[in-house]
Each structure stands twice: as C-alpha cells, then as structure tokens.
Amino acid sequence: MKLKQLSLFLENKPGTLTAPCRLLHQAGLNILTLSLADTNEFGILRLVLRDWEKAKKVLEQGGCVVKVTEVVAIEVDDRPGGLAQILEAVEKAQLNVEYMYAFTLKKENKGMLVFRFDNPDEAIAALKQRHVNIVDSVELFDRLEC
C-alpha cells in the first residue's frame, strides 16, 4: 500500500536542482511527481519514480544524499470539497501529516495526493476504516501509464 519516495538534500545555490534531474535523464528514468521543500539554507527534493531502486543507485553514485521514505497515495474527488473530505478523515483518525503534494494525473474526476505520515501503516489502517481510497503502487503506476 505504501509508496517509496526518494528525498534528496540540496544546497540552496544555483544549479543544484539540475544535477539530480540530469542524472535521472541520463539513466532514462522518468519522474512521476515531485515536490520541493525549501528553506533559506537548503532544500529537500522529493521524488516518486517507478524504478526507485535504480534511481537511488544512480543518484548516490552521482554524489547525492538520498533517503527512502514511505508515503501514501490517496485518491481524491476532483471537485470542491474533495480534499477537505480526505482531511476530515485524517483529522478524525488523529493522524499527523508531515507534508503532502499532488500528482498532476487525473482520471474520471479523481485526483491523486501523496501524504507523508508519521506512521504510514497506522495511517493506512485508520483511513481505510473511514473508506478513504488508498492507491497501491501497482495500481498507481498502471494509472499513470495508461
């Protein structure tokens, strides 16, 4: 149910974002979605890729600091209130969201979000009880590629 996400440490200086993207390009790896957190001093680039193991290897060999994090992909209705509904379930289950971002993909009026929880397993169980649709990686990659 969980999805592997790669996080990269980036210094806040020109060109740092290009380097990892170039490495992935050279290895023929496609980024499915990403988010960039930044502070004055540094940034964290978060990536979801199909072949994350290969991507990790390529990035590490290129000198990047990479961490694998488990995140949860959640389907959301693409209408006003769609996200609020999910967040209400999150709130009721008393789950703490570290951060979240979205996929650009859309299918049959459904959007897709990436959530980082303290404890992903606990979050998945709690949200399932509340009938939130969690998308596993196989299904996610199928959707993204059709």
Partner: protein, 443 residues
C-alpha cells in the same frame, strides 16, 4: 613471542629496546648526542654558527641537558630563507634522499637524509608500529601519499623494516582502497584520520561492512585530531586508533606515537629531544605545563634541527606509563599555536569546533570554518557535510540538527556560529588532509 613485542621487558621488538632504557642512561645518551649535534651544526651550518656566535656561545657551553635553553630557536621561515640546501650539514654526496613540503604558498621546504638518517627514520617507524602491537605477519595498507611528502615513504620503510607486508596504495581512489583491504585481508592502515572517515563513509555507500574485514589497527597522523574523533572511529569500526606524530623538518612520521594505553604519545627522545616552551615568554616550561612543543634532532646528520618551533601545543608527561616505556610522552596534539583563530577577540582552535560537532549524535565531522567580516564584525560560518546517516526528509529535523550544532558550538567555544549544511564532498581535501579554515576576513 611476537604477541609480546609491545609488552615491557619481555620479548619486545629488538628495535624497541631504547624505549625502555633506564632514565639515567637515557639522559646520559641524550647529553652525549646533544653535545655532538651542537658541534656538528656549529662546524657545518653557517646560520646556526652565526646565531650561536651572536649569543656568545660555543658547543663547549653545553654541559648539561638544561643548557639546551642557551641555544637559539629555529623557525620554519629559516628553512624557507635558506632554500633549498642552506641548512645541510652534510655534503650532497652523502645525501641519499630529499623530501619537500607541498609548498602551496611560495617556496617549498626541503629536507634531506643521509643513509644513516634513513636508517634512524626506519628504526623509529618500526618502533612506532611495534607500539601499536603490529608485527611480522600483519598486512599494512599505507594510504599516506608517496612522493615528496614524507608520510608515504616513512611509513613504508618502517612497515617493511618491521617485517610486515606493505600495500603501498598511497592516497586516493577510495573504492580501490576498500577492495584491496577486503581482498588482501589488510590488518592495519596508515592514513590521515579525516581520510579514514572518508573510507568509513565510502564503505557504507558500497555496502561493505568494515567490521567484516580483519582491519584492527589504524595509525593516524599528519593532521591534528581529537579524542572525540577516536571515539567515533572506534565506535564505527573494529579499528583501534593510534595517534602518530611527526614532521618533515624533524624526520617525518615517527617522532612520537601512542602505546596501547592511549595516554599520550611516547617521544623517541633518544633521537628527538622534546621541550615545552611558554608561547608568551619563550622560556622552557616545567614538565606538565602546557606550551609549544620544541624539538631538537639529536642524531640527524644531513639536516639537524636545533630547538625547532613546531607550533604544536602540548605538554610533557613524566608519570610512568603502564606499558613500561621510559621515554616521556607528549599529550596528543589537537591544536597548533598558528592554527589559533582570533574571532571577535576570542581565541578559537578548529579542533574545538570539531569536538563540538562530534557531541551531536549522527554527524561525521567533515566540516570547514569560513571566516568573513561584515561591517567590521567577524562572522563565523561552519559548513557541515550532510551524510546519509543524518539526512532526514523532514525540513524540521534538519533545521533542528542545524540549531543543535550551532548551540553545541556556542556552548563549547562561546562563539555564535552560523551552521550551514552542505552537500557531501563539497569541502576540499588535499593529500587526504581536509582544509579546515578559510579566512576571508582580509579579502
């Protein structure tokens, strides 16, 4: 017998015999040699003779070891000013080897050896390795740079002289170093401590468990390092970390080394006479007091050094070491008087920053101190390389770590420093030595 080489009195390596001389005998030997070296430089080296004449002294004034205080100091600038051969006390035909410092600023410093000098150097390196419990049968990877730098060849001759197997890999190409360590069953390594940290990092990246290797001893030197660094190395590997001290001007590596008790470095004082002097007054300090280490070569032929100012801060310990060696110890050198930075009027040594960083869990100290001036005020920035171990994908955790490091520095040295996390391998390393300080205050 070989296991007992490092034990006092029974079956030590034959070359280590002088380590255990009865003190009166050792002092008598030193005095004899001091008189002889004073005579040699007076007769052979213009600079020393002129300085002694200026003080109205001749070699005959040396009647006791304390009389060494009558002799003038020698500074690094003296070696520069007499470049290349001005301090040689032997004719070129007797000189079998020249070494030189890398000389990043101006002329390098040249040092010379006769055949006898090389033999002495080899013998003190044999004694150094023996003091780390190494012997014939050990496989020593020598990762000090070979070439003009004294580290590589010094350790090489000593390891061979000991009868160990040497892997003369020199510096660099860490992946290959790790492969050789694994494939050859290397039991000991010689390198700078910062290079060994780099090896540890690389092992993790290559998924090599350093604890699976037979590597058990590290002989680390050529840069000042701290007790915290030793703890870190020993916690992350099965390596027992020994501090070795030396400098090219005196002989190269092999001036002093720790024994298994790790309570200071035994100086091979039958060859290198140590003094500690007060930095302010230049007067000799009583044993046990902190000051600058000054060394005199008692047996060097090609290029003797009289009261050479090392700028290394230490103190002399005379309490008996449980290992049984009678030669005195210097306390490990973590700072140099010329390393000292004065920041907003506060004295600061890079090693204090290192110690502060090491107190924070999860950081490996690849760090660099950058000094600048903003509106007349000194600014301190400490760059710390991010490693996979402490990288977190949460901004908050990284920010917290940054603050922790910054607080730790402020608590330890009393200076507010801006900590900046940087990508790995940002900090420049040369010859395995990390460049710790960049001072842009007068840029």
């Amino acid at each position: 017998m070989s296991e007992l080489w490092c034990d006092a009195g029974k079956g030590y390596h034959p070359a280590s015999a002088p380590d255990y001389l009865p003190v009166p005998q050792l002092r008598a030997l030193q005095l004899r040699r001091l008189k002889s070296v004073t005579r040699r430089v007076y007769d052979q080296v213009a600079l020393f003779r002129e300085r002694m004449q200026a003080r109205n002294i001749t070699p005959d004034n040396i009647k006791s070891l304390e009389d060494i205080a009558l002799l003038p100091f020698t500074q690094k600038t003296d070696l520069r000013d007499t470049y290349p051969f001005g301090l040689f006390a032997s004719p070129m035909s007797d000189i079998v080897r020249l070494h030189a410092s890398s000389g990043t600023t101006g002329k390098p410093i040249v040092v010379a050896y006769t055949k006898e000098d090389v033999e002495v150097w080899t013998s003190v390196m044999i004694r150094s390795f023996a003091s780390c419990g190494l012997h014939q049968g050990d496989i020593i990877q020598n990762s000090y740079g070979y070439g003009l730098f004294t580290g590589g060849l010094g350790a090489h001759y000593g390891a061979e002289g000991l009868g160990a197997t040497v892997v003369p890999v020199s510096g660099g190409n860490t992946q290959r170093q790790i492969m050789l360590m694994k494939d050859f069953g290397v039991t000991a390594i010689c390198c700078t401590p910062s290079y060994f940290l780099h090896i540890l990092d690389q092992c993790k990246e290559l998924k090599v468990n350093i604890r699976d290797l037979p590597l058990k001893v590290g002989v680390f030197g050529a840069e000042p390092w701290t007790e915290e660094m030793r703890k870190r190395i020993q916690a992350e590997s099965n390596v027992e970390a020994y501090d070795i001290f030396g400098l090219s001007e005196i002989i190269g590596p092999g001036v002093a080394i720790e024994c298994p008790h790790h309570n200071g470095l035994h100086v091979f004082e039958d060859h290198f006479y140590p003094e500690i002097i007060d930095i302010e007054t230049n007067q000799p300090c009583p044993d046990g007091q902190e000051g600058e280490l000054v060394l005199t070569t008692l047996t060097k032929k090609a290029m003797p050094m009289i009261r050479y100012r090392t700028h290394d801060i230490s103190r002399l310990r005379t309490d008996v070491c449980p290992c049984g060696r009678t030669i005195r110890r210097i306390e490990r050198i973590a700072r140099r008087s010329d390393d000292m930075l004065i920041i907003r009027g506060v004295n600061l040594f890079p090693s204090q920053i290192e110690a502060a960083l090491l107190t924070v869990e999860g950081t490996l100290p690849h760090y660099q101190i950058v000094l600048s001036r903003d509106k007349g005020l000194d600014q301190v920035e400490v760059l710390v390389e991010v490693t996979p171990e402490f990288f977190s994908d949460r901004v908050g955790s990284l920010e917290a770590l940054r603050h922790k490091l910054s607080h730790s520095i402020e608590n330890t040295v009393g200076i507010r420093a801006q900590v900046r996390l940087v990508e790995p391998h940002t900090i420049q390393r040369s010859e395995g030595k990390a460049k710790r300080v960049i001072d842009r205050r007068n840029a």
